[in-house]
């Protein structure tokens, strides 16, 4: 297997893994936020703000992986 085939296998796999990881993480975060809203509906504003903050932190790693995959894509 030459290095081009290895890159062509590895880079979409990396992007897919990043997507999967962020989907799992975001699903857990949003589900716990919704459960907290269900327990105490008057705290919805604060919970929503903290949920967005957590989601942005989780997405940061996904975007770093995507950028890195783009850089590697040009080195084939």
């Amino acid at each position: 297997m030459d290095y081009k085939a290895a890159f062509a296998l590895a880079i979409p796999l990396a992007v897919g893994l990043a997507g999967f990881g962020s989907a799992v993480g975001l699903g857990r975060a949003v589900s716990s936020a919704l459960e907290a809203i269900g327990r105490q509906p008057e705290a919805m504003g604060k919970i929503r703000m903290n949920m967005f903050l957590g989601c942005a932190l989780i997405e940061a790693i996904t975007f770093i992986v995507i950028g890195f995959a783009f850089i590697l894509l040009k080195r084939i």
Binding site: L57, E59, F63, G67, I71
Partner: protein, 249 residues
């Protein structure tokens, strides 16, 4: 060389068209190198004009421009003020400026012939260095250099084995956590905004099929712009608040 190939998909903006237009003349490399600086100055100019229009006739019953600016300032005061407390009221302008400036720069990239300067690592690294420098300066002024190192080790007091334990285990982890913050701040903002711009220009390359997905992608890009600006300034506030409000425990 590889850095130039990554940007093959970027859509043209005013400065790159200008560079193509004067491709034989002398002053070309200036515009080519300082593209992001010109766009961030443009964001500054737009904000300046907006504030000037809002502050022309300040009256007790506000007009249209003045009430929008008051809404923004009130919201920023409310959101960052309760985190920082009474001791940190002087840091609200820093957080508010970061929020408004980054929001304007992010949104500028969604206008057809312009580019957001936060999609380049240089701009976001400069912003992250400013925020982190403020954090370090406040920490050292608050507690001194040895006091800051003590604070990072978790304030060890008591038996000698406890002091050795905390200095050996907690201190390296805390140092890494603190000093990786500017890296993550800049990379998060740059990765988000450049990915959104890249996907938008890729959809433009796809032709008619891409035009159907374009409204949803633009909505996502708007949401990401606002959220990333908010997250940058909010995280800076949290880092500052963790240093200021340590004595009340």
């Amino acid at each position: 060389m590889s850095q130039e190939n990554v940007n093959d998909f970027e859509s043209p903006n005013i400065i790159s068209l200008l560079v193509q237009y004067l491709s034989g003349m002398q002053g070309k490399s200036f515009f080519e190198r300082f593209e992001n600086v010109i766009f961030s100055l443009m964001a500054m100019g737009i904000l300046g004009v907006f504030i000037y229009l809002a502050s022309r006739k300040i009256s007790l019953i506000p007009g249209r421009w003045q009430s929008s600016v008051e809404l923004l300032v009130e919201g920023i005061n409310h959101m960052f003020g309760e985190l920082l407390g009474t001791h940190g009221k002087k840091f609200i302008p820093l957080a508010g400026t970061l929020f408004i400036y980054i929001l304007c720069m992010n949104l500028l990239g969604l206008i057809p012939l312009m580019k957001s300067s936060t999609s380049n690592l240089s701009t976001t690294a400069a912003l992250a260095i400013c925020a982190f420098g403020c954090f370090l300066y406040t920490a050292i002024k608050e507690e001194g250099i040895s006091g800051f190192l003590y604070h990072l080790a978790g304030k060890p007091k008591g038996d000698r084995w406890l002091i050795v334990f905390m200095w050996f285990f907690i201190f390296p982890i805390e140092v890494i956590t603190v000093f990786i913050r500017p890296i993550t701040l800049s990379l998060r903002l740059q990765g988000n905004i450049s990915s959104e711009d890249l996907i938008l220009s890729l959809l433009a390359h796809f032709g008619f099929g891409g035009a159907l997905v374009l409204p949803f992608m633009t909505l996502l890009a708007l949401l990401a712009a606002v959220i990333q600006a908010f997250v940058f300034s909010f995280l800076t506030t949290i880092y500052l608040a963790s240093i200021i409000n340590e004595e009340e425990h």
